[in-house]
Symmetry: C2
Subunit: 468 residues, 2 copies
């Protein structure tokens, strides 16, 4: 381990007082739960799961996952209703909120520690599990059985690295590497360094890792799991790809950053510094750059984080595709969202205003009725500037462009052609705004979000912070 | 035959005085040739060939093709030297010039009639012929045996129609339908009207006509003759495609014009009227149209017509491809040439000036050494505006565009990348000029060619003259 990694590990390894605090909170909540369970006369276990149970958590990141495991004969409907009710009754006097994943669960805040208390079923095998939470205890047990103290530190380093380069987390917003996936990489490659070495050297789109050798060949895996950049077979359930959420971009970012880190290790990868960001600098960059930046601001309905990010990403891609269809050349695009009220599509174009004429390729002269229809249309049209004429075997025409300005195109077609029904209905009611280049200042000032200014700065810079 | 066709036929059918004049000239030249042949004691025939021999010529188009057919045992080298010498000696006292095709021949001017006197070999079968001229007598004989008086008039109508729509002639400049091909279409389809009806209804790219049914199936023909829009098997030599010179554009123009003529017959197809053309109107159209017109003027070496047109067309396509490679959107292009000294590439672009930035797609992050090379290059480059960043699995960069202006691009790359060696050497010595939009006026005025103004007018209009 080199100096950089030693320094990082010093920072991220949990301190004794943290461990003590976490254990104390767990004991407290556990006792409350067990008392209530006893009242109901049910046979259930209260267990710690997740990174704290596996001892792969990072200092300062105090997220407790406490599972109440009920007998499997009770079934998932019972868990959802009765199982949840027992937990709720046990903890309702504490500071809490009700959260929803596949099932409802309780989120407590105890001494600034986030504690999720989740009802689940206790199965004999992971592949029996019907829900994500029922599978979790098997993941916990597997990782605990495979990782020694040394390797748990290696997981910590890898987690911090993935966080630093922006690809840690399976949620749609990040579309990166989950905690369990990170742990499996260390099970496979043993150390942080060795992981990076293999990622840099061996990984290509469609890479397969089968830690427990559940399959006899890569080919067998490839036939079963299609179109994912990375396929990591779940040791406890061979039908699952643990890396299904990893996007091509996250996958490629990990490869590129691994190569760069190995050439020149630096704290920068673990703790990227964006430096000072100001509206002034952002606006200066926008006005000096000879591209056009378009911000489309949308009010959004309140939805779970993954729902809203999935929706926004899909709708952004639709929007960009409509722009491309009308000949706009896209440099880059991204979406920002406060997950509460407001989202922004930011799109950079080579030019947001095109020439007023466009050549349009029609049908082959011998294809009827298309040829006659094309000729009739353009011989009579006021939009025709020259022609129609014959090029090779086709009719073509030079005509006025329908939409010269990207803004005009979106004002006309965003709702009807770019948005899916949920956003469409919401936007039809609440409206949207489009700001181009210098106009963006108005919006940024009104929004007053430092996070958005950081987002804009990164969007304009584009270069990953670890790339020097 | 409708009124239009009757009127056209009245105009194009040779008048008795023309026939008399042609016959008189042929007799005169024939006698001179036969006297000289007799002197040399050689057994040879003097024959009329071509459209006059076949009686398919048009009034006013007095081109006599007189062939001197020598015994085949003398061979083509003898024809080229001795055979030519005999003709030359017979006619050297008349107004003449020496012309070159595969062999040299004599071109006379007798009472404003162009008379080509060509030495050739007399074979027993067309497929024995090694040269185009040796094959000609078989074509003449075939057509004479197949066409009656009625059908010869139908050939005349079809020729005039093809001339009118601009696709008559197998020379590279036109890349259209030869006289012999036109005659074969009437052998196949009997009348002008029926030809147009079949062309409009049946013709598609790769259409096959095998008048004498030399092949057992279309498939057999398709396997032998590839990639021509039209395949017409030569009745006298089944290995030849008589329509090999027909371009996709000429082929398609014939189809489209046939459809339109059948819907609404008009003199316009036979005698297209461009109307009055002036520099003023051309320049007004150029400056009002929101595209950019670029004229590249080249001095050209003296070469046979087909050589220079072939060269110019290929070089124009190269030039357009270089423009496309650098992101310029091409509306249309063509070449004008006086076949003496001067040629002009005219290229219409959506915009002749592009934005100053361009997004450049690099290699996948895992592809080495490409990825490292790309990063090194753009991390250090002053051309880099933003990035490099990762998009899907690739590195990409936003950089300064190398050539913003089409003119600048061509000034830099025309000679090195667009021209083939013949033109390249000539242009390196004599230079070239580029005129954009309003600058074109200077050149047009200096050139002072009505033909070029007509060419420019048609280029801007684009719409075929027969299309209303």
């Amino acid at each position: 381990m080199n100096k950089v990694e030693e320094e990082v590990l010093r920072k991220i390894k949990p301190k004794p007082y943290e461990v003590e605090k976490i254990e104390r909170i767990f004991s407290y909540v556990k006792e409350k739960l067990e008392n209530k369970i006893k009242e109901y006369g049910i046979e259930a276990y209260v267990e710690l799961e997740g990174s704290i149970a596996k001892d792969t958590w990072l200092s300062g990141e105090w997220d407790l996952d406490i599972f109440v495991l009920y007998p499997k004969r009770l079934g998932k409907l019972w868990v959802k209703n009765e199982g949840f009710k027992i937990i709720f009754e046990a903890l309702k006097d504490m500071s809490h909120e009700i959260a929803y994943a596949e099932h409802p669960y309780i989120r407590l805040n105890v001494e600034n520690v986030e504690v999720d208390v989740v009802p689940a079923l206790k199965h004999d095998y992971a592949w029996e599990a019907e829900t994500v939470v029922d599978r979790t205890p098997f993941h916990t047990a597997y990782i605990r059985s495979k990782l020694g103290e040394e390797e748990r530190d290696q997981v910590r380093l890898l987690k911090r690295f993935l966080k630093g380069i922006g690809v840690y987390g399976a949620e749609i917003k990040v579309s990166g590497f989950s905690g369990y996936l990170t742990e499996l990489l260390i099970v496979q490659y043993k150390t942080f360094r060795n992981t990076l070495a293999h990622v840099a050297k061996d990984w290509r789109t469609g890479f397969v890792i089968d830690v427990e050798k559940h399959y006899s060949s890569i080919r067998e895996v490839k036939e079963k799991f299609k179109e994912h950049p990375l396929i990591v077979i779940d040791p406890v359930d061979p039908n699952r790809n643990v890396a299904a959420a990893v996007s091509e971009k996250s996958f490629s970012t990990f490869i590129a950053a691994s190569k760069y880190y190995l050439r020149m290790p630096s704290l920068n990868f673990f703790y990227p510094q964006i430096g000072e960001v100001t509206i002034k600098d952002v606006m200066k960059e926008i006005s000096s750059r000879d591209t056009d930046i378009l911000c489309l601001t949308l009010p959004i309905p309140k939805k779970p984080s993954d729902v809203i990010w999935g929706l926004l990403r899909r709708n952004l891609v639709n929007t960009v595709n409509v722009l491309k269809k009308f000949d706009f050349k896209i440099v880059d695009y991204d979406v920002w969202c406060d997950e509460e009220k407001q989202a922004v599509f930011i799109i950079e174009l080579e030019k947001a205003v095109l020439g007023s004429t466009v050549k349009s390729i029609g049908p082959p002269v011998f294809l009827e009725p298309d040829a006659t229809y094309f000729l009739k249309k353009y011989l009579e049209s006021k939009e025709t500037i020259a022609g129609p004429w014959i090029e090779n075997s086709r009719w073509v025409v030079l005509k006025k462009r329908k939409y010269r300005e990207a803004k005009e195109l979106l004002l006309n077609r965003l709702v009807s052609q770019c948005l899916s029904s949920v956003l469409k209905e919401y936007i039809e009611e609440h409206g949207f705004e489009i700001y181009v280049n210098n106009e963006i200042r108005k919006y940024v000032e009104k929004l007053g979000s430092k996070d958005f200014i950081v987002f804009l700065t990164k969007f304009l810079r584009k270069k990953p912070l670890w790339l020097k």
